[in-house]
């Protein structure tokens, strides 16, 4: 198998799937920040698509605008140009059924692990009993059985990020947008949470867009890796990752010889981008 930058380097082609609305289509989005009256362009002209059940990783040099892109996709920032379509429709404000997770766990210190997990259900007015049952089940699934009544201050960093993941997944999102969610964790903890997360996402048929600095993480998790240029950013290259059928086992994947070839190839791309 040859590891070549796929023709998907020109994104936008993926949209042409007949009829069925793709979870996310981004067309020619541009975004800049206003700094002392001068507009600093951050996203130049960026297009990408996310298919149903697909996991896409975004890698790019530090400060290139990945977080800005994510916040723009969720409607937290308004794009200066271009179109963002969720399930075929442009939305005003925040898209529905989208889970959002950052490197910071953002847990509320005044809420227990359970109450933090219930936050989204509570906001949507799900009855308390149902919300609690679902949240407890989600915490159990993520290995936090017995910690539901703990306040965040009494949990380890890995456990806190698991609670944040539970808070995201319990809302049953179609699409997850993640911004280096596990970057602050040690390697082993990170691998364990990741493999739990990936199997839950794949089992639920969800789509996921994962921003990361870690190319190995990107290759081991994603079906497709998109490399971004430095600021003002655009898509530099995209790679379809083909590493066999059992993609849920992100740990043993790393022993696949193709794995390191993808990693080296993307590294090279990123290096060029940094210069």
């Amino acid at each position: 198998m040859s590891v070549e930058a796929a023709t998907h380097a020109r994104p936008g082609e993926g949209e042409a799937v007949n009829g069925t609305a793709l979870p996310l289509v981004v067309e020619h989005v541009a975004k800049g920040y206003d700094l002392n009256g001068q507009v600093v362009p951050v996203i130049a002209d960026l297009s990408l698509t996310l298919r149903k059940g697909e996991i896409v990783s975004l890698v790019g040099p530090s400060g290139c605008g990945k977080t800005t892109l994510l916040n723009t996709l969720c409607g937290l920032l308004a794009p200066d140009a271009g179109r963002i379509r969720w399930h075929g429709r442009q939305v005003v404000g925040q898209p529905q059924n989208v889970g959002y997770m950052l490197q910071k766990d953002l847990l509320f210190p005044w809420r227990t692990a359970l109450a933090n997990t219930m936050l989204g259900l509570e906001i949507r007015g799900v009855p308390a009993a149902e919300a609690e049952d679902r949240s407890r089940a989600m915490l159990d699934q993520l290995g936090l059985h017995g910690f539901a009544d703990h306040y965040p201050a009494t949990l380890s960093g890995g456990m806190r990020q698991r609670v944040a993941l539970a808070r995201t997944l319990v809302n049953d999102p179609d699409v997850l947008l993640l911004d280096e969610p596990f970057a602050a964790l040690d390697f082993q903890t990170k691998l364990l949470i990741e493999s739990d997360m990936v199997s839950l996402v794949r089992k639920g048929g969800r789509s996921m867009l994962l921003i990361t600095h870690d190319i190995e993480e990107a290759v081991s998790i994603a079906d497709r890796v998109i490399v971004l240029t430095r600021r003002p950013t655009a898509v530099k290259a995209a790679y379809e990752i083909e590493l066999g059928s059992d993609r849920a086992d992100v740990i043993s994947l790393r022993e696949n010889p193709d794995f390191s070839r993808y990693v080296r190839r993307i590294w090279a791309d990123l290096d060029v981008a940094i210069q």
Binding site: C74, G75, L102, W110, R111, L119, M159, D196
Partner: protein
Amino acid sequence: MTTDIGTSMVDASKPAGSVPSPVARAKWKRLRFGIAVLATQVLVLAALLVVWERATPKGSPAAFMFGSPSAIAGFLIQMAQDGSLWRDAAVTGMETLLGFFMGNLVGTLLGLSLWYSRFVSRVVEPFVIALGSIPIIALAPIVIIWFGTGLVSKVAMSTLSVVIVALVTSYKGAVGADGDQIYLMKTLGASKFQIFRKLVIPASLTDIFAGLKLTVGFALIGAIVGEFMSSSEGLGHAIFKAGSLYIIPKVFAALVVTIALALVLTWLVGKIERLLMPWRRQV
């Protein structure tokens, strides 16, 4: 895939046999620290009192000018026996409590609600700064004209001393809510009111309670200044009367009661704080 990360931790915290558990040891350590702090405080106070007592022998000019701990204690006993101590403390305590409550209620509500509108908070800002810079004492004569010489004018003075501080601290708490947490709430579909209720208010509690502790003193000062201006009872009245008669130990005796009142109120606020913010207890 369920990696049970918890089990080893739970087992480790169980006490093993007769060996004191780490939890019990930590508790004992905290207790010992508390005792050491208290003992040192008592020692410092005792040393001060001894030096004061030695420097002001009975009948000396120094005793007249500065009072002496024994004379102050004498007045305290006398005031307790003739009932004036309890009466004055109750009057001032009531004025302070009412002013504290109203000032904080109004100030906190205004401060939190300013979070709602950047426009309104910008408009209001210079007015708040202007009001905050007025020495409340300067208002006392007007307050007495408006509210008379009874309880209401003292409560008004107390309220005025508190309200701006409460407004500023609670507003600071509200705008201090983490921007990423607000983003999170938005992506979860929260309305502005839900963000306010579920994030902004709880996130402000720490600042609000800092304000509450600070304003105990301000409420007390407001009430006492009000009593200075015109009154027939209360600790401020007692201080003013004893001062104008040059009975300095009695001034100090009334001050001791004032301090005790402040300590009790501060302690109460701390109790309520721990009750309302249980997540901080475990840390």
